[in-house]
Symmetry: D2
Subunit: 398 residues, 4 copies
């Protein structure tokens, strides 16, 4: 099921991650992104020279031109360290922003924003979530972009704008057509350079005890009469939610395979620890049936999760986001929960060491708790899946 | 991934199960196997005439000649009702006995025992488990078969000899070479016609409140100086455990896909109930988020389970039982637990109705509790998987 | 916290259960109630002579006059076998019917119905649940009792009328005041002798593969123009739901402590099996850390469950059903789930033996699955508890 | 069950925590301990003047003289914020060190070390865990204290010496009698002033992304020929493990009740969020049955956990640590897991907000993950409980 192209590429990614990226991991974990930013940038240049850059982008943008199902396998390899995707320039939210601009950006937008993003010259952010409203409800969006001449004037407050620190532009979701009777047609996505007057970073939100820095941070941002040209709007006016929806399908495949990478690395760490840790002379953790249960269950769950994601990716490649909506929602909650259990077990096997930043487990335990929340909490996705199933049962009744 | 052959066959099985078999189900559930035996036999004749008989057997035995991976899909369809496999003559333990005789039986054994079994003229049973010993330990096997001239004289007590009631012969596991230094080479499998003197049924064991009857029963059997010709031994002397091991791989695929069939039918019942049950005017169970959670989680788990089993079946077809040992152990505990959860949720959605025998849910809830126990409890299979994994970690160390 | 009175009584109950009742258990499990009815009746006479009869009834009715919290401890002891409560004449639904008649019956009702019930001369049943309506919604009650002169004429269909087989009378919930604007004031509870014309047993419902018999069975009953004197109504007209509600509090304490008894016996069987079952010479199940986990978790959960029930019983004794409503709902789902887990683990430790009726585990596994459903499914009780809690949070807002 | 004394005190603690301590919490969470140290010290002085200081200490040391069961209730109140215990000078490990010195310290030790600790003038730490050895095995202790004249010369490396940053002394576990045939009699506990030459802090270990500071930090410490007077040994030579064991009982009550406090605050935050968060106009999170499930289950589990801890505390007060060993092990794993689930649910109800340090949930989620590990992982405690139970079953066999 793996294409020949990917079969050749995978060992190269795997080796690069192991030999070049993971050695930097400890400093990222014990300090923050700023500490290793320069060295990561050196790796990025190296990766380009190795022709492994931007696997998700077409070759015209110096990417590898992989299909979503092909990229899925790569994403798993990169996910084995928290800094993997960044080195290959396919980190969220930049990867999603690139895909969006590629599909819907104007020529000017591609030249001004996509090109430098694809080359790694700049970073970007995505400014959608608002502090006091449920993300799942489009009616609750409060940020407004009002037309004044050739400009939009944007006012509002955004929360969890990940990576805003150091980004060159944000893509902002704002209400442009408040009077449209169709709630899902009221908003647009607009590019806002972060140097624009009125783009006001309020704070880096402290998350799980860390403010983070640069790419690995989450900002609260206020838009205060922030003026940008109308040509910065992506796609038609009112298409904001449709574009956001379109982004979610591939985004979840990216994330889910990254999570599988986290699972595999955690599994690997758990096994290494189990076979090496002596409880007493001759007795190792790996001989404990409880540890054996965790390992066997983790193996089964990770394998099942990967099969699910790959099946969803193939369906998405074949039928597009609408055709794979249920699968996309399903892998969201299914894989996030598998990851949560695998990381938790790996920590327990490590004992106190698992709590420290001497391994990436604590980072994933704390920061990937978000996986069950962002892009819609588990509960929302389960309701989506169930309602779609019930619809099939209700129709024959008529 | 489904072969064209199976793609054409599946709807025929599905329809036959729905139209002809399920209508008999209620009487089986509310009475027992004896109550519907005659009608099931009529269906068996019909199935033969429709050329759907014995999908797991080669065409030379009037079967469909399906590969294991192909049969897996069929087994799911038949598993949607507790009496499905019997109607198509691929029920346990007969299907396993047929596979065993086909691969290792002498010509005479094939003529005397396999032919009538394949044609459905007789039933058989498998007599391995003993009351006071752990099945997972070959050293604990107590039944002995002692050579006397051209005969084996068998003495011992067997427990959970499923389907012995009404069977024409048993395949008995007995120690023939007690002095072999290799514990796994001490036993042989021997065919014992149930009319042999010394084949003494002690009782039908009451399981989950039911003694059952015929195919759907479990007997305790004593072998008292039970004499059979040496030519009744299957394969070489001392090959008993090897043959039992060989049987397990395909057997678990059969079972696991039957379990998926149980899951799908339970899921179907759960959804039908949810959309039809009113809590108050206009408010149906399907609108309850808790029920939606159960449905979404069940859908995800069943899909994951099926992908796991099909991957294991393909590996088994390609590499044989040894090459797929871990996968075979993994699906054993993984699918059994998915089934357990899905059936439990389906009962909860049905309320008191789910406890009655007006649906097959109660039957599966009680009688498929065995799935986490027979052929080795979950805990044993988890240990097998974990140890195989740890071995990979331990080797490089040296 | 245990009264002196109960402290003295408990060992007597415990010993009687162990020495006289459990020896009959196997025949009950392998056959049914009818098989052991005569012997159980002999035990009932013996229990009377020992002055242990009817611990929940006042001394004026030859009971022991225990408070609810005192009876709770006794109920645990009796719960150690499925036939324990019957022997002491405090089985459901008779115990609840006795409490109801004691509190709200007329003098005539007490003489005609309570007295023989209390003495054990007759049995009774409770006819409330209907096949096609959600029990939690009073508006869905369809059985009607229409006044004609001095009689009620009852029409309707009742489901899960437990113990109707062989009972002398039923207490029937029927709509008497369909036009009352308060839905909870529309029904009454009416005594219907089972010999009344129009009391039509339809079938003993097959539950988990068994129709059962006598006390241990569940009937579907039709009321066809069934006429009884108006004096058979218990309490005021329209008080049916209030009386049902009143019954639930003590009923759940009875059940919950019976469940604790089931837990303790299952725990005991699990431990005995673990220490006695050899996996190989010198290696016993009890040395397996997975089994140790099950035992430790079960011990913790059972202890926690008992503390919760006793606290609820004390609150109920002190403040009545209204004051302890949340606690009553909480123990319903909490203890039922503890029991479900403990019995499941005990079966797994027993292996195939746990599936047979050689122990009571299979009976509890299958028949006590009902615990998460009857008297309101878990989900309803959780909603009750949560809404009561949220109310406290909502009030201060105003 | 609550003494009159505590009944009067509790509202004072509760109010003080709410009015004076919680207002500082946000700065602790968003920065670290150093940020709020001065203000916390001001509160400590205030608390002393209010006569609420050191509730666990006898009145002779200006404490409140509460029994363990009484202090348990107070500990719950203080546990509602991560900085609660510190303000009242009963934080770990100082509280344990005080109890140890009080029971086993010499007069000189009490004067030099206990007195300033009790008055809050200094802090201390406990230096036991070592990096490469399983804490549960006394044979693996590597740090040695060798007698030279009137001194011990200590060499070794200690890990997770919590609160070493800024502490005035450490209590160090070291092997003093390596040749004692009884492994549990080989070590002693020795007081080491942190200003001693040879007391070398290596690093503050980064835990869950944070190095922390002062009281809220964990240090790796090396002892390099670190010389202290022999009079610094606590108790007899070789009594180290016995003293450590003695400390564990009360310590787990302290921790477990602190965890209950964490549960209650998390529960409170969850409920407040649920009733205030609108999904759409008129529809709040609290109306979602899934949220109702979480709230009801949390309520049940917290209540059960508290009953378990109070019962264990009473047993410990009455029978000492040996008599309550099983209960102490049981509450360790039972309450830690309840806390883990409650905090996790509270985060899920908060959505992205739950991941930020705008509430204490993220702090508890990440830093209290340790609860299932320190003082022995869950698995060890479960084995302890199970083995004690099995012993009761094995004895009658003889």
């Amino acid at each position: 099921m793996i294409s020949e192209k990917v079969r050749t590429l995978l060992p190269r990614f795997r080796e690069y991650i192991r030999e070049r990226v993971i050695p930097l991991e400890s400093r990222f974990l014990n300090a923050n992104f700023a500490e290793v930013a320069a060295e990561l940038d050196a790796l990025r240049r190296e990766v380009k020279s190795l022709k492994l850059w931007a696997p998700h982008l077409p070759e015209t943008l110096d990417g590898l031109g992989l299909s979503l199902a092909e990229f899925a396998h790569v994403s798993e390899e990169l996910g084995r360290t928290p800094i993997g995707h960044y080195v290959f320039n396919c980190q969220a939210p930049d990867a999603g922003n690139m895909e969006l601009l590629l599909a819907h950006g104007s020529e000017e937008q591609k030249r001004l924003f996509l090109a430098p993003l694809a080359s790694g010259a700049i970073r970007s952010c995505f400014s959608m979530t608002e502090p006091d409203s449920a993300g799942s409800n489009p009616l609750s969006l409060k940020t407004q972009a009002v037309r004044e001449g050739d400009s939009y004037v944007i006012d509002g407050r955004k929360w969890f704008t990940s990576g805003a620190d150091g980004a060159s532009f944000a893509i902002v979701m704002a209400v442009t057509n408040p009077d449209d009777p169709r709630p899902h047609r009221r908003a647009s996505q607009i590019i806002v350079p972060t140097e624009s007057p009125g783009f006001v970073p309020i704070r880096k939100i402290s998350v799980m005890g860390q403010c983070g820095a640069g790419y690995a941070s989450h900002s609260e941002v206020e838009y205060r009469a922030c003026r940008v040209p109308i040509t910065n709007r992506i796609g038609e006016e009112g298409s904001g939610f449709a574009l956001a929806q379109e982004r979610l399908g591939p985004g979840r495949i990216h994330h889910a395979m990254r999570w599988i990478g986290i699972c595999e690395r955690s599994f690997d760490l758990m096994c290494r620890r189990a076979v090496s840790r002596e409880l007493s002379p001759g007795s190792r953790l790996s001989m404990q049936p409880v540890v054996q249960e965790w390992v066997a269950e983790s193996r089964a769950e990770i394998d099942a999760a990967r099969l699910m994601v790959l099946a969803a990716a193939e369906k998405l490649d074949a039928h597009g986001g609408r055709g794979a909506r249920e699968e996309i929602s399903t892998i969201k909650f299914f894989v996030a929960n598998v990851m949560s259990r695998v990381v938790d077990r790996a920590i327990q096997v490590h004992g106190a060491l698992g709590l420290t930043d001497d391994t990436p487990l604590a980072y994933w335990y704390s920061h990937e708790r978000a996986a069950r929340i962002y892009d819609g909490p588990d509960e929302v996705h389960k309701a989506v899946v169930a309602r779609a199933i019930f619809k099939q049962y209700e129709q024959p009744v008529r």
